[in-house]
């Protein structure tokens, strides 16, 4: 009972969030930005939506998964942090509305002895009460910085430069 990592694939950028819940959907917005980019062959992008266990099978295909998600951690909206969650307790206290799914997923990966490395970018948001597909200004403003950080991480992981020509 061990998830096998397929060495042919290297990195998955996995955006998580509810696209209909404004800032909560920042991970999905990020994934959509990357979908239009020319990425290296061994880097894939996935809009993971609010999925929980459904996403398990993707983890076995990659050596690294870069998760992007929103969090309600009380920090200034737009704060970006990189966490390497190994255990359930490594997550911020309040993840976004779909936190159970994502935390469960990481818990399950650990129990299944997964060898995939998870890199979690969390973006602090103010509220999950709003509905809509538009991000608020503080979150929109940090998107370029978030994208840069994701790219730097990919470069670090692949030891290739640069990831994007632009």
């Amino acid at each position: 009972m061990q998830l096998q990592t397929d060495p042919s694939k290297n990195i998955l950028i996995l955006g998580i969030g509810n696209y209909l819940m404004a800032d909560e959907g920042v991970g999905v917005h990020m994934a959509r930005m990357f979908e239009t980019e020319q990425l290296p062959e061994d880097v894939d992008v996935l809009d993971g939506g609010t999925g929980g266990f459904h996403l398990l099978e993707y983890f076995e295909q990659y050596r690294h998964v870069i998760l992007v998600d929103a969090t309600l951690d009380g920090l200034e909206p737009g704060t970006i942090r990189l966490i390497k969650p190994k255990f359930y307790s490594d997550f911020p206290a309040a993840m976004s509305t779909h936190d159970i799914g994502l935390k469960d997923l990481v818990g399950a990966l650990q129990l299944l002895n997964s060898t995939t490395e998870i890199h979690l970018f969390v973006v602090s948001i103010k509220s999950i009460q709003e509905q809509g597909i538009e991000l608020t200004a503080p979150i929109t403003n940090i998107l370029p910085e978030l994208k840069k950080k994701v790219i730097s991480l990919i470069e670090l992981l692949t030891l290739k430069q640069p990831v994007l020509s632009a």
Partner: protein, 574 residues
């Protein structure tokens, strides 16, 4: 002293359900079930192309996914008089069986088992004894003492890391947990095995439907081309992979799910007398061996049983104006003709009129309208839908395949047939029909191969796909047996567009509010008289509500008699 427990949603993935229950002398005296989120796909669909409807309705849920799409294309095909080719029928049926096994196994292990299996207690089990027990109930090869002790070590490490993680929501140590530590350990080990397995079986949906969740459907058939030597089509290699997945699934159901279900059930026979509820059941039927349009060939027969009388099964006609009707007496909608009338879905209306309290609120006023779910009735009767309804109707219709599995289960557990009308019966029925769907999936697969070998490669009937060929107006109804129960979509097509579309879904039948005559629906009825040992840890409520496989996430809030919030426990549903 009566206390009110509120089972309320937090925002999760598939929707909102809230149950308020009055507890008196350790038992539930009254219960109210409320849907607090608007679905309203009906309005989104108005004016759209009927051929696109499946893609919209599929998104009603991320767990049932394909079943709404299937029901939708059936409704449109019915309206336009399209008969799909045998290959498409067979592919749809294979996907259906795959979904059943996935859905039922995931429900049992990941959404319901922890209501019966005490994870923390499993850490106390003796691996050697666990191994002996496991080998006495199943041939499943992973059963050595080392295997079980490895599981214990892994979970122990997990627990010691600070939090219980995925197991954080259980009422561990609750006196209503009755299993020996060794059975708990088997349940825990197979929770993890099921987690691994479930991601395999859904690949069948990706093979035939291009992706999962939300595989692709097509009005007129399926959007996958048969080409045995074609690299990108449904070729010989993919077909043999489908067979392999179906065979693995059958082994998993027979050697893991069913032995576990029976072992666990044997310690909870008292739940064969709790949570029965309405005692009236309905199924629309599905899985025709001679096609969807021939109900006499259905593997899942249709019918209605009233008041636990399994000597009589009545027929259901979804087209008749006076059979299936929806009421809004206690729902946040308004009908043109007022709150007392029931409307057949072809005349259905979805005009919202919210009159409930302004959120966030503590309690609902249940003397007024209290839910966004409408209240469907069959000839005025409240009926339960789902695995128990299907199994009882198959049994009552005298079908040998149903009789064999039901009688064996009753004999093995040494319980009377009346024990089926219960929380335990509902949970057992889900397992029993999984045995059948595991067999049927392979039967449909063999038929598909035979049909392809005979030279038939047709996968879609496209002669009426062009709207130019449609009548000016058309009415259609499509039905299915979703894992959670009878599902149907009704469509009115006018001038090539959707003029009206109504979904009446299983959870609406089961979780709806009272009707115009004050009759309770299935959830509400099933909770009445359920014992609650400790209102702070209402495990028993979860057992009964989870036995329906509710399509929602819920969290339990508890209030004392003054309405003060004294506890809150989150519970993962799906």
């Amino acid at each position: 002293m009566s206390q009110r427990i509120v089972v309320d949603p937090i925002t999760r993935i598939e929707g909102h359900l809230r149950v308020e229950a009055e507890i008196e002398n350790g038992k539930i005296k009254d219960a109210y079930s409320s849907g607090t989120m608007v679905r309203l796909l009906e309005e989104i669909l108005k004016g759209r192309d009927p051929r696109d409807a499946w893609a919209f309705v599929g998104r009603v849920c991320g767990v049932c996914t394909s079943i709404h799409s299937l029901t939708s294309v059936r409704a449109v095909e019915d309206a336009l008089g399209i008969v799909i080719p045998p290959n498409a029928e067979l592919v749809r049926n294979i996907m259906f069986c795959a979904q059943y096994m996935h859905d039922h196994v995931v429900h049992f292990y990941h959404l319901h088992a922890m209501d019966w299996v005490d994870v923390v207690n499993a850490l106390k089990a003796d691996p050697k004894k666990t191994s002996e027990l496991a080998q006495s109930i199943s041939h499943w090869p992973k059963s050595s003492p080392g295997y079980f002790s490895d599981i214990q070590t892994r979970v122990k490490k997990f627990v010691e890391s600070g939090q219980l993680g995925i197991f954080a929501n259980g009422y561990w140590g609750h006196p209503a947990y009755k299993l020996p530590a060794e059975v708990n350990l088997i349940g825990l080990a197979h929770y993890l095995e099921a987690l691994e397995w479930q991601k395999e079986i859904v690949k069948i949906h990706a093979i035939f439907g291009g992706k999962n969740p939300h595989p692709n459907y097509l009005v007129g058939g399926m959007a996958c081309a048969i080409g045995l030597d074609d690299v990108s089509g449904i070729n010989a290699e993919r077909l043999s992979y489908v067979k392999q997945l179906l065979e693995q699934a059958k082994v998993f159901v027979e050697q893991v799910y069913i032995p576990d279900l029976m072992a666990i059930a044997s310690f909870y026979k008292d739940w064969g007398a709790i949570g029965g509820g309405l005692g009236s059941f309905m199924a629309y039927g599905d899985l025709g061996t001679n096609g969807y349009r021939d109900p006499s060939s259905y593997k899942f027969p249709s019918g209605v049983i009233l008041n636990k009388d399994i000597s009589k099964v009545m027929d259901v006609d979804l087209r008749k104006d006076d059979e299936v009707q929806e009421y809004v007496t206690n729902s946040w909608y308004e009908y043109k003709e007022g709150d007392k009338v029931g409307l057949h879905p072809w005349k259905g209306e979805s005009k919202i009129k919210y009159t409930g309290p302004k959120p966030p609120f503590e309690h609902l006023d249940v003397t007024q309208k209290y839910s966004y779910l409408k209240t469907p009735r069959w000839k005025g009767h409240a009926v339960e839908v789902g695995p128990l309804a299907r199994v009882l109707i198959g049994y009552a219709r005298g079908r040998e395949d149903y009789k064999a599995i039901v009688d064996k289960a009753l004999t093995d557990l040494n319980v009377p047939v009346t024990a089926l009308f219960s929380t335990l019966g509902r949970t057992a029925a889900r397992g029993l029909e999984s045995i059948l769907t595991a067999q049927w999936g392979l039967e449909f697969y063999d038929k598909l191969i035979d049909n392809i070998k005979s030279g038939d490669k047709r996968m879609a009937e496209m002669s009426k796909f062009d709207p130019e060929k449609w009548p000016k107006t058309a009415l259609g109804v499509g039905h299915s047996e979703a894992p959670r129960g009878a599902l149907a979509h009704w469509i009115n097509i006018e001038d090539q567009k959707i003029a009206n579309y109504q979904l009446v879904v299983p959870t609406t039948w089961n979780a709806s509010p009272r009707d115009a005559n004050g009759q309770l629906s299935a959830y509400e009825a099933a909770l009445i008289d359920t014992p609650v040992h400790d209102p702070k840890l209402p495990l028993e409520i979860l057992r009964t509500i989870h036995s329906f496989d509710p399509c929602l996430a819920c969290s339990v809030h508890l209030y004392d008699e003054h309405g003060n919030h004294i506890n809150r426990v989150s519970v993962l549903g799906d």
